[in-house]
Amino acid sequence: MTAKADSSPSGAAPGARSLHRFANPGRFLRASARVQTWLWAAAALVLGAGLVWGLFLSPADWQQGQTVRIMYVHVPMAWLAMGGYTALAVASIMSLIWRHPLADLFARELSPVGALVTALCLATGSLWGRPMWGTWWVWDARLTSVLVLFFLWLGHAALTRAFEDQERGARVGAILALVGIVNIPIVKFSVDWWNTLHQPASVTRLDAPGMHVDILYPLLTCAFGFSLLFGAVVLARTRAAVMERRIRALQLARARREEAAGA
């Protein structure tokens, strides 16, 4: 996709910029095609191993018994919800400062995935809390701030799709994403700053992790596997979005050609 940029529907945009706009996604599609295959394969391999390890091979916990196994899906969802949001903020900065068109598409495709992951984090946490704490939900600082994170993801997904003009939607969404970034340190440190029902961090502690290696290693494997799968899904969605935009441009160009031929 090189000189075909002149079929761009945004004829008002300066020529050089619209060229850059289409040249870049073309390179992105080619480069990501190879990455994608490896990403899917690695995700299937690592996640498969991690889930079998966590669900069947790892030991029970001395207090929680078998219920500790919920952690192998709950904690990766929590890390992805926060890590994914940080990626959204980085994409938003790239969108606002450098007006990078790929960053807009990436952010737009990322937020529904992030919202789902955060919802899964809340749901699995609730399923753990009921037998262990004795309650499905409490309004402590950790749980409440993660709920806010979920609404930020949802809000971003809805806002970027609410405008007729996609670029304007991306701009507004990027601002929301950057305002919402203040919530990330609050989620992370809520368990240290305030009394919460939720326990403090076990893995990312300054001293040794408060988790035995027989439980820690399957957790890290699951977290890595889910991250790979998350990355593969977001990459496939972004690639699809790039192609869909190209399709719209081609369809528009074809309609214009037919119109011109008919006149």
Binding site: P59, A60, D61, W62, Q63, Q64, V68, M71, I93, L96, I97, W98, P131, M132, W133, G134, T135, V138, W139, D140, A141, L178, V179, V182, I186, W193, W194, N195, T196, L197, Q199, P200, A201, S202, R205, D207, A208, P209, G210, M211, H212, V213, D214, I215, L216
Partner: protein, 166 residues
Amino acid sequence: MTRKKRRLYILLLCGLGLGSATALTLTAFQDNLVFFRSPSDIMREAPPANRAFRLGGLVEAGSLERATGADGKPTANFRVTDGAHAIRVSYAGVLPDLFREGQGVVTLGTMLPDGSFRASEVLARHDETYMPPEVADALKRAGHWNPAQGAAPPPAEWNTAPRRGG
């Protein structure tokens, strides 16, 4: 280029303002963000009578008495401590699975005139220690740790060590 620089500075300035506004708000609402109060907090500042609040801490070792109430429901009496102070708690109902001496709890209820706490809800608080039962048993056998007395020994003592016993 200058336009990009300007956008960058505007963004940094907004971030600074937003960050400090959030920090100020969180500091101002500090008291409301606390999910439970410790026995020391209660000693320092007595809560208003008949107002429900949450009391949290560790279940004191050797303080738990279970019984069956007149209506056949299980009841429990125990002391919640934070090391410095302890408050007696009475509760009628089923205790959660993780509840045991030495374990963190959060209870919802009111102070009684005699200085004890009447709980209508007891939630177990999980600590951040995860280990297989064999490792916990080995530690207990070696005399390193009595779970009723408090938290597990520092992870460096047991975490990278090869598994014993079991």
